[in-house]
């Protein structure tokens, strides 16, 4: 019963999902796979974090869900970015960039 929601990942996971969906609408499994792929197998998204995060983004109206056929003719729930999601992604990307630059500066600081 570990609670993934309170990880540092909570905000970052949302950002990663938004970014993934910006490229292409995708189902839950695909999102997890892609994040893993893009991160060169560094970031593994646990399902226990993924689906709650998708629900959260749906509630906030950042993403939209719809049922579609996959390439293999299988029914799956696809998520795509809404217009507010697009804006939010921009905002959060900038904020992330600022933060990571800042953190890097701190980490590489020397006397």
């Amino acid at each position: 019963m570990t609670d993934h929601r309170d990880d540092l990942l909570k905000g970052t996971l949302d950002l990663l999902i938004l970014k993934t969906l910006e490229l292409k609408p995708m189902h839950g499994w695909g999102i997890a796979e892609r994040i893993q792929l893009f991160s060169d197998d560094v970031l593994h998204v646990p399902t226990g974090s993924l689906y709650p995060a998708l629900q959260r983004l749906l509630r906030k109206g950042l993403i939209v869900a719809e049922w579609r056929q996959t390439e293999n003719n299988r029914r799956a729930r696809y998520y795509r970015l809404g217009s507010t999601g697009r804006k939010q992604l921009k905002v959060e990307t900038e904020s992330w960039n600022r933060t990571s630059v800042a953190i890097n500066r701190v980490l590489h600081a020397s006397l």
């Binding site: 499994w29 399902t47 226990g48 509630r59 299988r74 799956a76």
Partner: protein
């Protein structure tokens, strides 16, 4: 608008709960299949691929739960679940539920019923535009002790105020009474108001038909015009449009209808049906001697009551300087119209509301005690829930939901009881409570009932929920029931018992004081006997009975015929009936003595009567003689005085033979000889000491004193059997004369103590309910602790403790709690019964006897409540007790 989107999302989630769950299942299924497919592609066999996918995915149920948490509808679902749980658990323990719901219902119904009366009588706005600007002006008179604060206004004062006062938009005079209406159907008595022409505009009373009065119509030569109330117009004229210009006959004089008022216009809740101009002559407006006007004023906007009072004080000082001979000791009292109407019942109603609130509090405490005990029994259930992952907040919420469910059920039942209770209350209420017909169940009462139910439930629930859950989970699961001996819980239960006892002690003492007041009132000797007396009232119209001689003839004929009836022992007429209406207060001059100074005026009440009055009313003649038939208009004027008058003015002499006369400008009348002395009668009210009083033959009084006499008939059986015959006799003498206010003297006496009786009955009911609830609380707490300690007691007995000692131990513990409660209650009563002061008579708010007796009584009852469980403790069988663990 993100919140709106969130809201819509939540609603769809809540409504499509099942569909959403299915979709999630499908989504998870898809996810797993994708993983399996990838694993198979990577070379795993089917079974291994499936196993790995499941491992990677994690706990399906757990994830579903977390997704639901993110939907934002979790709390609503929990609430529904909690309510369902609460209802289920209340079905499981029907006894407990019934007791808790009933207890709350009792408290809610008592409080709501009283509140509905308070709401209708005290809180609902008066039916006038900007009613808070309306005030009534009275004169005050400091010569009385206590000073009189509501004295009618003299015409000259009224004129002065009208001219000088700046605080008011206008000042009008009124008088409310009755008139005999003839010519429409049966002669009937209607409620009539006499008003100055500016009065209706001050009330903002507008006509729906015709007009209101115009300037000049309130002078003696004004036209005889009348304005009808809407209700009277509907009832008597069927709402016809052409009533304007028609004539109605009031007291045998014709009045032209000039207008009909809007619906709902009334004044002081008197049900005024016809409005006529008051006739004020110039001489009336210069008269400072006779105080006979009622005055209404409307304060200008932004003028406060205090400002108006200050200005009127200044005006009174000024008038006093100019007219020292009349104005000594007189002032002005500015009274808000609302206080004028309901001020006298406010203390009674508020004290009753206080009593009902205490009952509600005790009920709340009682239910808290019940729930507390139950929650101890349910500790294992909570421990299991908490082991299954329910957070502390979740458990608190569940307790709260349970208590709120209970209290809302109780509130609903209480509201139903309150509607019945309010009707019973109104049936019981004295009929002199103003606006009582406005009492009813409205949105405010409903809100109040729901509010106090929720409050009760929340208080009880929070109280129980916030208890320390104390020991650890494993202990709770293994240790069983003994946890209840945990000391903080025990202290809490004890505090509840003490609180209940204290509250019910306060209520009991309040009820005890009111009961004593009532008994002291009714055991007062009023100076007359009320049994077997029938009374009725007439009003002789002026044009048919223009002088005293004609009125005397009518009364004599009436008395002769009534006295001839076989069942009648005696019959008489009087202008004023004891405990009903006050006599006129005049001052008098004694023959051969200088006139009294203003400050030491010799005042007395004056009653015109017929022969046989004292015998009929049962008033004993102490000295001298009674009136006889020969004391008529032609004979030398005579008077009979009461004992109080003799003691005040002739303490050491015999006044019989002394001659006195009215001390009234231009209306002194002849010298009248005192021929007898009668016993004192408590005329004004049972609790007011008799005042100096004069009785004189009606035949020797002025005409204006004689037109409204009351008939008094003493019989040996049920007085009401006489009523039809008396009506026949009257209509035989004058077919246009209505007989009104037919009532027995017993009714009048009962009516005069109706209000204290009402307070006493209700407060007693509350006290008894409260006492019973508190005793149940004590009993419950002690039995519970006995049950908890059965093992201990069994062990003690096994080790040789005498069973009597065990019983005494339990009893003494229970009594220690009860006595602490009673002690606190006595202190609380000393403090809070001061609020009762205005309602008490003949007993002090700190009466030691009442306090002592009731404390002992409650203590004895508590001892009984503790004794029963203590017997059970004594009977503890060591073997059974030990095996139970």
């Amino acid at each position: 608008m993100p919140w709106l989107r969130g809201l819509i999302h939540r609603i769809t989630m809540l409504l499509g709960k099942n569909r959403e769950a299915q979709e999630l299942d499908e989504e998870i299924q898809f996810h797993l299949e994708q993983d399996i497919r990838r694993n198979v592609l990577a070379g795993m066999d089917e079974v291994e691929a499936r196993r790995q996918a499941r491992l990677r995915f994690g706990g399906v149920e757990n994830i579903k739960e977390q997704v639901r948490d993110e939907t934002g509808v979790r709390w609503i679902e929990d609430l529904i679940q909690d309510v369902r749980l609460a209802l289920r658990s209340s079905r499981r323990t029907p006894g407990f539920t019934a007791i808790a719901v009933l207890t709350i219902a009792l408290g809610v119904s008592a409080t709501s019923a009283i509140f509905s009366v308070v709401n209708g009588v005290l809180l609902n706005p008066l039916p006038h535009e900007d009613a808070e600007q309306l005030v009534v002006l009275w004169e005050t008179d400091r010569r009385y002790s206590p000073p009189a604060t509501r004295v009618n206004v003299s015409g000259a004062n009224f004129a002065d105020w009208r001219e000088l006062a700046r605080s008011f938009e206008g000042i009008g005079a009124y008088s409310i009474g009755t008139a005999t209406l003839t010519g429409l159907a049966e002669p009937e008595i209607v409620n009539r108001a006499w008003v100055t022409t500016d009065f209706l505009p001050l009330l903002r009373a507008r006509p729906v038909l015709g007009r209101v009065f115009v300037v000049g119509e309130d002078s003696p030569d004004g036209d005889a015009v009348v304005v009808l109330s809407h209700q009277f117009w509907q009832a008597r004229f069927g709402g016809e449009q052409d009533v304007i210009g028609r004539t109605v006959t009031l007291n045998s004089a014709g009045f032209e209808i000039v207008g009909v008022l809007k619906a709902g216009v009334d004044f002081l809740a008197r049900g005024v049906q016809v409005w006529t101009p008051i006739r004020l002559a110039q001489s009336d407006l210069e008269n400072r001697r006779d105080h006979n006007l009622n005055v209404l004023a409307r304060m200008r906007p932004h003028v406060s009551l205090e400002q108006a009072q200050v200005e009127m004080d200044a005006i009174a000082d000024r008038v006093r300087l100019e007219h020292a001979e009349w104005m000594t000791e007189r002032g002005v009292n500015v009274v808000p119209l609302r206080d004028e109407l309901v001020g006298s019942v406010r203390p009674t109603l508020l004290v009753l509301l206080g009593g009902a609130t205490l009952v509600l509090l005790i009920a709340t405490v009682n239910v808290a005690g019940l729930l507390l005990v139950r929650s101890i029994g349910r500790r294992r259930e909570f421990a299991v829930q908490s082991a299954l992952g329910a957070g502390r907040g979740r458990l608190i919420r569940q307790t709260l939901t349970e208590s709120l469910t209970l209290s809302l059920m109780g509130g609903a039942l209480g509201l139903a009881l309150a509607t019945a209770g309010t009707n019973a209350l109104l049936a019981l209420a004295p009929n002199n409570i103003p606006r009582v017909d406005e009492v009813g169940l409205d949105i405010k009462v409903l809100g109040f009932a729901i509010g106090i139910s929720v409050f009760t439930g929340a208080a009880v629930g929070l109280f129980c929920a916030l208890q320390p859950f104390g020991t650890s989970l494993s202990e709770a699961l293994t240790e069983g029931g003994r946890w209840a001996t945990c000391s903080s819980r025990k202290r809490l239960r004890q505090a509840l018992v003490i609180g209940e006892m204290a509250l019910s002690m306060i209520l009991l003492i309040g009820a005890g004081l009111l009961t004593q007041t009532f008994w002291r009132l009714v055991s007062i000797d009023p100076g007359f006997t009320s049994e077997h007396i029938l009374t009725a009232r007439f009003r002789l119209p002026q044009n048919k009975y223009p002088d005293n001689a004609r009125m005397t003839t009518f009364y004599n004929q009436l008395l002769n015929e009534v006295r001839a009836m076989p069942q009648v022992n005696s019959a008489a007429m009087t202008r004023f009936l004891p405990l009903s209406d006050g006599p006129w207060t005049f001052s008098f001059a004694v023959e051969g003595q200088p006139p009294a100074l203003e400050g030491e005026k010799r005042t007395y009440g004056y009653h015109p009567i017929s022969t046989d009055y004292f015998r009929t009313a049962g008033i004993t003649l102490l000295h001298g003689r009674d009136l006889t038939e020969t004391d008529n208009a032609d004979a030398a004027p005579v008077l009979i005085i009461n004992d109080a008058m003799k003691r005040q003015f002739w303490p050491d002499e015999n006044p019989i033979g002394t001659r006195i006369r009215f001390d009234r400008d231009g209306d002194e009348g002849p010298w009248r000889e005192i021929v007898g002395i009668v016993r004192n009668v408590r005329h004004h009210a049972l609790h007011i000491d008799p005042r100096p009083t004069l009785y004189g033959p009606q035949s020797q009084a002025s005409a204006w004193m004689s037109d409204r006499m009351r008939l008094l008939v003493r019989t040996s059986s049920d007085p009401f059997q006489l009523a039809p015959t008396i009506r026949n006799i009257v209509s035989g003498l004058d077919p246009n004369l209505p007989v009104i206010d037919v009532q027995s003297m017993d009714q009048i006496v009962a009516g005069s103590v109706a209000r204290p009786r009402f307070s006493m009955l209700l407060q007693l009911t509350f006290a008894i309910v409260a006492g019973v609830l508190a005793l149940i609380g004590v009993y419950g707490a002690i039995s519970y602790s006995v049950r908890q300690r059965t093992a201990e007691f069994g062990l003690r007995i096994a080790l040789g403790a005498p069973s009597g000692a065990i019983g005494r131990l339990v009893l003494s513990q229970g009594m220690a709690l009860s006595c602490t409660g009673i002690g606190i209650g006595v202190l609380g009563a000393l403090f809070s019964t001061r609020l009762l002061k205005g309602l008490l008579f003949g007993v002090s708010a700190a009466d030691p006897l009442t306090y002592g007796v009731l404390a002992i009584l409650l203590g004895a009852a508590a001892a009984l409540a503790c004794y029963i469980p203590s017997r059970r403790a004594t009977a503890a069988d060591p073997m059974v007790a030990l095996r139970a663990e």
